[in-house]
């Protein structure tokens, strides 16, 4: 049986006002990623096709798209692995406004990062000695578990609580908040716990665990959010909040 030489890429084209899938036939190559295929379309067939990418090697977190209904890094997804019956559907990330074609507006995503207390609150200056934190301390290990997030938006796009409750801060922002709650150098704990305890805060998470299932960096935002739920609940019970 000879292998198929081409795949049909059904690529979402449009903008904030709407759009639909457009079919492009793309030749299949060895080791070709979905990002390679989308780039091929832009160079050979449709120069107007808009999408984002930078590093191409899974470090920058800009090339995430919805591939066959699941959000993924297109630079780390081999086309042959996702072709089903000669066909792949490529769409922009969900839960974010589309700017054009496959490029989304991340303003709300990063806005919520700030609302969840994502900014480090320094307690020392550059004139102070470097804080000594034991690598095996509990809080350091808790922070470590979530710190490799590169804000690609895959978890946010996969989260049904964000879809159903647009005020919800989302897995990435809350994961960031949890890493800072466990940062011994940080002085913003109380304010941060308040920030994640409101109407759109961590308590709205239903532990679907889509974020943990789909995170390309194998992080577990559900675990981080559970930590925030516990920390805020304890703060209320102790009368600190």
């Amino acid at each position: 049986m000879s292998q198929a030489k081409e795949a049909d890429l059904h690529v979402w084209r449009g903008d904030g006002n709407g759009g639909g899938l457009v079919r492009y036939a793309v030749p299949l190559r060895d080791s070709q990623t979905v990002l390679d295929a989308v780039t091929w379309i832009q160079r050979r067939l449709e120069p107007g096709l808009s999408f984002r990418f930078a590093c191409r090697v899974g470090m920058c977190g800009t090339c995430a798209m919805t591939v066959n209904g699941k959000p993924r890094w297109t630079c780390r997804t081999r086309l042959k692995d996702v072709v089903e019956n000669g066909r792949v559907v490529i769409a922009p990330l969900e839960n974010l406004p589309v700017i054009k074609d496959l490029a989304c507006d991340f303003s709300s995503f990063f806005g919520k990062w700030g609302k969840a207390g994502g900014r480090f609150a320094a307690t020392a200056t550059r004139l102070d000695a470097v804080a000594a934190i034991r690598p095996d301390s509990r809080r350091r290990r808790l922070a470590d578990a979530g710190i490799e997030c590169i804000n690609c938006g895959v978890c946010y796009s996969a989260c049904d609580v964000v879809r159903w409750n647009p005020a919800y801060l989302g897995p990435a922002a809350l994961n960031r908040s949890w890493t800072l709650v466990n940062d011994e150098r940080d002085g913003g704990r109380e304010k941060r716990l308040r920030a994640v305890a409101g109407a759109g805060g961590c308590h709205n998470c239903h532990s679907h665990q889509g974020c943990a299932t789909l995170c390309p960096n194998e992080l577990n935002p559900t675990l981080s959010i559970a930590g925030l739920k516990r920390a805020t609940a304890l703060a209320v019970l102790k009368g600190e909040m």
Binding site: N165, H203, V236
Partner: protein, 109 residues
């Protein structure tokens, strides 16, 4: 659409309900195993302080738990928000509490 206080109420009521629901399941099993009819059930429940406390607490906890649970569902799927959502939550809790306590009085009193 819940903050930390409604979350705490939801989880604390769940913690109270867990053993009560297990007990309620045991009561159901006991009743069907003995093949009890309505009069027999009532003869055992009427005047029983244990039953009154057990199901009184059950009704209070389930009113809190059910009202907050439905609040989340109607916000997420029917887009109720703000005062309408708060009103819905309170009304749901009040209906469950009222009907539940009435049932308790009927069965125990």
């Amino acid at each position: 659409m819940i903050g930390v206080r409604l979350y705490l109420a939801q989880r604390l009521s769940a913690l109270i309900l867990a053993p009560l629901v297990a007990g309620h399941l045991a009561v159901i099993f006991y009743a069907v195993q003995g093949g009890l009819d309505g009069a027999e059930i009532l003869s055992r429940t009427q005047g029983s302080v244990g039953f009154a406390l057990f199901y009184g607490l059950f009704v209070i906890a389930v009113s809190v738990h059910g009202a907050i649970g439905l609040r989340v569902v109607v916000h997420e799927h029917l887009k109720l928000a703000g005062r309408t959502l708060d009103g819905f939550t309170l009304a749901t809790g009040a209906v469950l509490l009222g009907l539940g306590l009435r049932a308790c009085v009927a069965v125990v009193g």
